[in-house]
């Protein structure tokens, strides 16, 4: 690992964190070569997380779009209800090897926080989760779950009180206690080696999905779609298809749908490269290099940066990045629920909305595999309120 994805990535951190990051990288490499670690991880993924998760063929969504068949990879069916647990279990095991009993983490939608809380409860580690106050309000059920699972939840009032500010608070806490604490970062963002470690722990999604799709269909999908906030579910999913003749599409949050005029969280579409939270990547920033406000109805996508590997794939064209607005995500949220019996997380609903857009341009008979990264129980209150509001506005 050199910590670079083309001209992105790196380790732009306080000197205080360089030692702990080097230690983490070294231990990660040792762990990968240790059958005891890999076997324990596989066992936990099977017996605690509930892997493998299935793939599901959709019967209505997509079929009407030019006869295109949609398939979902069901990360919503993992324990705790989203892909975040794959990484949380892996890093919690690493922390255990490092002798660090105290875990800190950030969370946006609360899914990573819940996954960390569950993993720590199961492995006997102490968990503290930083969450923006705005996010805590719109994802209240997950705050309750984290507390029930024994984690301390620290609400963050700084900045916009969302994901970026929760990461800032967690990094500051890590700088204060680098020797005793492991920062269990939940996405493919931050300084090296996090983007690589998190992607590798999430690569189980792509490995399973590729094999399952081949078994069911006798061929690979034409398109693979995933939502991209920080981008960990997409990075894990795409990792298995990088050498295949498969079109890869990442869906960012277009928020209010005003394109580049603000009110979104789509740095890969409207941002420019810069350095935030330890890594060089596409960012939403102003002419002075200050980080800009973001908006998405999905807290897990509401972030001004993105994983550096995605920035590299944008430049090389390996992955195509499109966007879906709050409205389009709500449509997909409602449609997948009513027509297919699956309630997606609002983040994952962006992937479904993006897949439906892609499907419209596909040849008849094409297949599209969508990573359904999480389930929507956490979003019921805010999604129902938004749908009701929309109905009232249209009267």
């Amino acid at each position: 690992m050199n910590g670079r994805f083309g001209e992105y990535g790196g380790q732009f951190v306080a000197e205080t964190l360089v030692g702990p990051l080097e230690e983490l990288e070294a231990e990660y490499h040792k762990a990968l070569l240790d059958p005891e670690f890999t076997e324990e991880l596989d066992r936990l993924l099977k017996m605690f997380v509930g892997r493998p998760t299935p793939i599901t063929e959709l019967h209505r969504l997509g079929v009407t779009e030019n006869g295109v068949k949609l398939w979902l990879k069901r990360e919503d069916l993992t324990h705790t209800g989203a892909h975040k647990i794959n990484n949380s279990i892996g890093q919690a095991l690493l922390a255990h090897r490092l002798g660090k009993k105290r875990i800190i983490a950030e969370t946006g939608a609360g899914q990573h926080g819940v996954a960390v809380a569950a993993a720590c409860a199961y492995l006997g580690l102490d968990a503290t989760v930083y969450m923006g106050r705005v996010d805590a309000e719109r994802q209240a059920p997950n705050v309750q779950r984290m507390k029930l699972l024994g984690a301390r939840v620290e609400l963050v009032d700084l900045g916009t009180a969302t994901l970026k500010d929760a990461i800032n608070a967690a990094i500051r806490e890590w700088i204060a206690h680098p020797d005793t604490t492991h920062y269990l970062l939940g996405s493919v963002v931050g300084p090296h080696p996090f983007p690589t470690i998190v992607r590798n722990f999430q690569s189980v999604i792509g490995r399973e999905a590729r094999a399952q799709f081949l078994e069911e269909n006798g061929r690979l999908p034409d398109v693979v779609v995933a939502c991209v906030g920080g981008g960990s579910n997409a990075a894990g999913m795409f990792s298995a298809f990088l050498d295949d003749p498969v079109r890869l599409v990442g869906v960012q949050a277009a928020g209010e749908g005003k394109g580049g005029d603000g009110g979104h969280a789509a740095p890969l579409l409207y941002g420019e490269p810069g350095v935030l939270q330890g890594t060089r990547t596409y960012l939403l920033q102003d002419d002075d290099g200050q980080i800009q406000l973001t908006h998405s109805i999905a807290p897990g996508l509401d972030y001004a940066g993105v994983g550096p590997e995605h920035s590299h794939y944008k430049d090389t064209g390996k992955v195509e990045y499109i966007s879906a607005s709050d409205d389009e995500a709500l449509d997909a949220f409602a449609a997948l629920s009513a027509h297919e019996g699956i309630v997606p997380a609002l983040e994952s609903a962006h992937a479904v909305a993006g897949a439906l857009k892609v499907a419209r341009g596909c040849e008849p008979g094409s297949t599209v595999l969508v990573n359904l990264s999480g389930r929507g129980d956490k979003d019921l209150t805010s999604a129902m309120a938004a749908l009701k509001q929309r109905e009232e506005n249209s009267r």
Partner: protein
């Protein structure tokens, strides 16, 4: 760069600790910044560290975060901060001024332009808290070309090899983090600080300046002879924040800097 080196050399000869005073550019307003620099220098600050505000200052505690946000709210930018340096020089400030700021606003400004403009304005160097030596290559190249200082960091947990690398790469001084954590007032110095400072001293010849948690004259006095310099930030800005008007803010700087200066001998 010569002025910065000379300051540390002169104080070493006099057996005085070099006093670095940190001030956030644009706090509480751009109009007051030169006056506060002037007050600090007149009260005995040997070097001014002028902070360029950033929306996400990961190395800073609540006091400096708040001053940075207030400065951003009144429109302080990197360009405006470079202008402050030029104004301070025009107002007769002769002490070295180093610019402290995070990577992103500086990268956005453009490194070549940044170092050239800083030099033209009369700045003496840069301190970039999210830039470890391993990422510092392009920055050092610009610093050398513009003959400006570039401070890298040592942390309590840094290996001897890393401290040596940071010290060797630093131009002007090595910023020695007195403790883990972010900037902020701490009541006591870390009990292990003497051994740590000896390790840093043994790692290289670059002048050392110790910062993070240095807030009182007794801290400065305790460090006499153990470091070339000390850096005081949050305590100073807290005093500025507590004063009621512009004259009070200058007086607060004068009083605290004078008392710290008295402890440098």
């Amino acid at each position: 760069m010569k002025r910065l080196e000379q300051t540390f050399t002169d104080n070493r000869v006099k057996e005085e600790t070099t006093l670095v005073a940190y001030i956030t550019s644009g706090y509480p307003s751009l109009g007051e910044t030169v006056g506060l620099i002037r007050a600090a220098v007149d009260a005995g600050a040997d070097v001014i560290e002028l902070g360029v505000p950033f929306s996400d200052p990961l190395g800073d505690g609540p006091v400096i975060q708040a001053t940075g946000q207030a400065a951003l709210d009144t429109g302080t930018t990197t360009a405006a901060t470079i202008d402050v340096v030029a104004e301070a020089r025009a107002a007769g400030v002769e002490a070295p001024i180093v610019l402290m700021g995070y990577c992103n606003p500086f990268l956005r400004y453009g490194l070549t332009q940044l170092y050239d403009d800083a030099r033209t304005a009369g700045a003496d160097g840069f301190v970039v808290p999210d830039l470890p030596v391993s990422e510092g290559g392009p920055w050092l190249e610009r610093a050398r070309a513009a003959d400006l200082g570039q401070a890298f960091f040592a942390a309590p947990g840094s290996s001897p090899e890393r401290i040596a690398a940071s010290s060797a790469a630093s131009r002007g001084f090595l910023y020695v983090l007195a403790a883990n954590g972010v900037t902020g007032v701490r009541s006591e110095l870390d009990p292990g600080i003497d051994a740590y400072l000896e390790r840093v001293r043994a790692a290289g010849d670059t002048p050392m300046a110790v910062g993070f948690g240095i807030s009182r004259p007794e801290h400065v006095a305790a460090l006499h002879g153990r470091t070339d310099g000390v850096i005081v930030g949050s305590a100073l800005l807290r005093a500025v924040g507590e004063a009621r008007d512009a004259a009070g803010r200058r007086r607060a700087v004068t009083e605290l800097v004078s008392s710290l200066k008295a402890a440098t001998r």
